[in-house]
Amino acid sequence: MIYYLGTYLYDHVAWMSFMRLVHSISFRAIAGAITALMLTILWGGRVVLFLYRHGQRDMPRDYINLPATSNQAKTYGGALMVASILASVFLWGKLHSPFTLICLGAIIWFALLGGLDDYLKVRHGNSLAGLSESAKLVLQSTFALVFALVYVIEGILPLPPGLATELYVPFLKTPVADLQWLYIPFVVFTVVAIANSVNLADGLDGLAVVPVSFVIGVYGVFAYVSSHARISEFLIFPFVPGVGEVVIVCSIVFGACLGFLWFNCYPANVIMGDTGSMALGGLLGTVAVLVKQEFLFLIVGGVFVGEAVSSLVQDKIGVRWLGRRFFERAPFHDHYRMRGLADTKIVVRVWIVAGILALFGLATLKIR
């Protein structure tokens, strides 16, 4: 909204020429981040009260031997974050840009999906009563498939011709392959995998939200590089006009994550629930594809990859197939809880690891 207002004033009111600021991506990115942060913090207290009053309380999963340190936090906190993100994007984003629309679509679709899951869990008072695994996968893949089609079919997005289906990997300047139509299943897999890995990581107060903000920050930088004609030429990235809108969304999400951490830090008053973790995960997956850095997630999102892999190995290979456990519990943060690490200790250590991985990820800008 402010973008359109600013443009209008810049064009029509002589003394408001400073309004050309709204054309600067870095200005809107920073303003958006601050807006999202402030909105989350200002709304937060009220939302917590509102949710509690309406009986939307968390259903912690009952782990044998694990002390329930839960402070009876309220689930659906993700809705708070999603609302702030949407409001900030509405204020600062270029809403007619297809990139903005795709990002908004991802947030809304995955938030609704996670919200439905949360709703079922709370309604039945049982953490196992949510959507079934296959239902989640189908609904996630539906979005991912539509997104992949929009992305791959030329002319819908303002991408340079032939770029959409090319596969980039970190540390290499040139694309390694042109996947053609095979790129569609690859996109579906990427989005679904990333969304679920974030969902799995959301198990302790503040565990998911900080690594998400690191990852989204790194992807924001990559999007900025691609959107900038000179920098992209200097760093030898494909120049994609219009992808700057992704930078706005990324920084807004970054701000909202920090605002959410305000309430979510140990001991949490509110947790993001599936609403938040799905929305963030789905958006991360979408952004990773949009900036053509899918494999970068293996580095910057190493924490999430670790959570997802440990959980899959434990459940699918270990328990279901072999009838044994590889870790004491999975995903790995529960393993360390079982081994006797306090929640806070695990969380901060994960943040440190995520920070280092984010720096590694940023280094791949130049090391290629």
Partner: protein, 670 residues
């Protein structure tokens, strides 16, 4: 009038259809029939032999495993079957379709439903459900039917009440019309002999055949006994009823002319003679068999088929037992060198037969009960239903109490375990259960133990079997549990490469200890040896930890156990060390424990130190160590820790307030 009969798979579905057809043919000379069934199933042999035309369709049972491949296969076959069914319906154009259930009848009914939708079939549909629990496909086709006849009232609750009629099970006219003396004469049986008829349904039963042959040497000792054994003609790659029984008889030394006390048949064309001649029947628990048995007023020993859908045979059998007309013998799981198989214990069988044969009064009481069970003129009722269908009259709806109480156990093993645990909590332990109920619940454990899948989601079969053994105090299976724990047959190399070890997976072995052996609380030498072996050599850490815990909780101070527990302190897994420390604290007696525990004082992981402190406390309480020695060492224990338990004073006070209101209210109410 043109009739189309369909239903197939086993005798339970085919015979009723034939009985109905015979009766219609008897009453209406001009009736025409076509049977639609499956090739390679029972109907393909019997139906042409009875003089009816038969056509074949494809079908498969609904896959309960839920695997997508099996489901796709099922859908493919069913689609093909429906197309075939449509072709048959289109050519034959029946006026009335009579379906007797089994998955063989589904294609025709679905085809009929589709043709009706597009106005190409005007046939009326009568579905007959012979079992107390309708199969899944029969439940589905019940919606298409104009009228549903059920043999048991309780089956009615799965269908639309307005269209259900209880009609009983159609017994062939010959069974009703034969009498005992005539039968004995025809079979050449002297009147003073007591006749035991043993048979396993239309296809025969391996379990009954094997158990009976093993029981024969004991049965032979009574000289007034005559055993009629119908083996069945089943011949598959895994089992050949006739040949296998012959071999077993040979091995048991039963050969030559045994016709005075034992006669073996592969199949009896006129089973009604055998029924009427018999004093006691050994049979499976299918609805058809049981109806014929009760029509003849026979006391029965029933061996329910554990793999029957929803375990309906056990329900049928228990119902007769409750009425006092029969006794149920359950199959047992047993250890067969690395696999778990199922059998009917021969001793139990021989005991039951000998007891009933010897006790005339008891047998006659059961016979009277059996004969007094309400058996309707089932064929007459069915024919009346059919006629009213043909003339579009609606017979009066079924007057049932709805919903009927469900006495059955849930089919899902985990739900079953939950129900059993609730039941045990309700009565306060397995000892307070009625013997027949306890036997039934134990049989559930047997049934689940036999399954190949230890952990088939959502069915945790064998795992649940182990848990049931533990919570039901089923000590007869102690040795089976020990065998599961100590079995060293490796799994396939693929699984070993991925981290598997033995055929009975790690979590199952852990549960054998934690939820099987510990609740049973038996402290025999074999259990001790198995646990010690598990603690020393099992490759999976949870098994070793569970073994350490079990040794600590089941055994008091014991030198041998203590030595192995001390060795376990070197274990690589923290979970095992933790359990070993706790067990040593509880049971350790040797005074040189203190120096052995010393090395954990500066352990990097604080849980070791915590458990050492706990163990020292315990040892001090039990006065194994003396206070001065311990006090001197306390400074050496590193107290830093990476764990704390948060306190939420508000939550704590709130909880106390809630408790207070709760107790006040309770006091007020009382």
């Amino acid at each position: 009038m043109k009739y189309l009969l369909t239903g197939g798979g086993t005798g339970g579905h085919v015979y009723p259809a034939l009985a109905i057809a015979d009766e219609i043919r008897r009453r209406h000379q001009d009736a025409r029939f076509l049977y639609v069934g499956m090739r390679s199933k029972l109907e393909s042999r019997i139906v042409p032999a009875r003089g009816y035309a038969i056509r074949f369709v494809q079908s498969r049972p609904y896959p309960r495993s839920g695997s997508p491949l099996a489901l796709a296969c099922f859908v493919a076959y069913l689609t093909l079957g429906v197309l075939q069914g449509m072709l048959i319906l289109f050519r034959y154009r029946p006026g009335l379709i009579i379906a007797t259930g089994g998955y063989g009848s589904a294609p025709v009914l679905f085809a009929h439903a589709i043709l009706t939708k597009i106005g190409l079939s005007r046939a009326r549909v009568f579905v007959y459900e012979p079992n107390a629990y309708p199969g899944l496909l029969n439940q589905a086709v019940g919606r298409i039917a104009h009228r549903i006849g059920v043999a048991f009232e309780r089956a009615g609750r799965w269908f639309d009440m307005k269209r259900v009629a209880v009609v009983g099970y159609p017994v062939r006219r010959e069974v009703l019309e034969t009498d005992s003396q005539q039968a004995r004469q025809a079979m050449g049986i002297p009147p003073d002999r007591k006749v035991v008829l043993a048979f396993g349904g239309s296809t025969g039963s391996r379990i009954i055949n094997e158990a009976l042959v093993r029981a024969l040497p004991r049965l032979r000792q009574r000289d007034d006994l005559l055993i009629l054994h119908v083996t069945g003609r089943y011949a598959g790659p895994d089992y050949d009823a006739v040949r296998d029984t012959a071999v077993r008889l040979q091995d048991a030394g039963i050969s030559g002319d045994t016709s005075s006390w034992y006669r073996s048949y592969d199949y009896l064309d006129q089973i009604e003679f055998a029924y009427r001649a018999a004093d006691l029947v050994l049979c499976r628990g299918g609805a058809g068999t049981l109806t014929e048995v009760t029509v003849c007023g026979l006391p029965a020993l029933i061996v329910p088929l554990p793999t029957a859908a929803e375990d309906h045979q056990a329900m049928n059998a228990r119902e007769l037992e409750r009425q006092g007309a029969a006794r149920v013998l359950y199959q047992r799981a047993y250890w067969d060198d690395g696999r778990i198989d199922t059998c009917l214990p021969a001793d139990e069988l021989a005991d039951a037969i000998l007891e009933l044969v010897a006790d005339d009064q008891q047998r006659q009481r059961m016979a009277r009960r059996s004969a007094s069970l309400p058996v309707k003129d089932s064929l007459g009722l069915i024919l009346r239903e059919l006629e009213s269908l043909a003339s579009s009259h609606r017979p009066p709806p079924l007057d049932l109490e709805y919903p009927l109480p469900d006495q059955g156990l849930p089919a899902d093993p985990n739900a079953l375990l939950r129900v059993v645990r609730e039941r045990l909590a309700e009565v306060g332990g397995p000892a307070n259960l009625e013997p027949s109920e306890l036997r039934y619940l134990c049989y559930q454990a047997d049934r689940l133990l036999v399954s190949q899948e230890w952990y088939e989601i959502p069915l945790g079969r064998r795992n649940v079997g182990v848990k049931l053994v533990g919570c039901l105090d089923y000590t007869a299976h102690l040795s089976l549990l020990v065998s599961l724990l100590t079995d060293r047959h490796p799994v396939s190399w693929v699984k070993r490469l991925a981290g598997g070890d033995y055929r009975h997976g790690g979590l199952l072995r852990r549960n054998v200890i934690e939820l099987g052996l510990v609740p049973l609380g038996v402290t025999t030498a074999t259990v001790r040896k198995a646990l010690l072996q598990a603690l020393q050599t099992d490759p999976y850490y949870e098994v070793r930890a569970a073994a350490a815990q079990a040794l600590g909780s089941l055994w008091g101070p014991d030198r041998g156990v203590e030595r192995v527990l001390i060795q376990a302190l070197d274990d690589s897994s923290p979970a095992v060390v933790k359990q070993a420390l706790q067990a040593l604290g509880r049971t350790g007696t040797s005074p040189d424990l203190l120096p052995r525990l010393r090395r954990f004082f500066l352990a990097e992981h604080w849980p070791y130190r915590l458990h050492v402190v706990e163990a020292l406390t315990r040892l001090l309480e039990r006065e194994v160590l003396n206070s001065e020695d311990v006090q001197l060492q306390l400074d050496d224990i590193l107290p830093t820790s990476s764990f704390f338990t948060p306190e939420f004073p508000l939550n704590e006070k709130l909880r106390r307030l809630a408790e207070m209101t709760q107790t006040r209210i309770a006091r007020h109410e009382s």
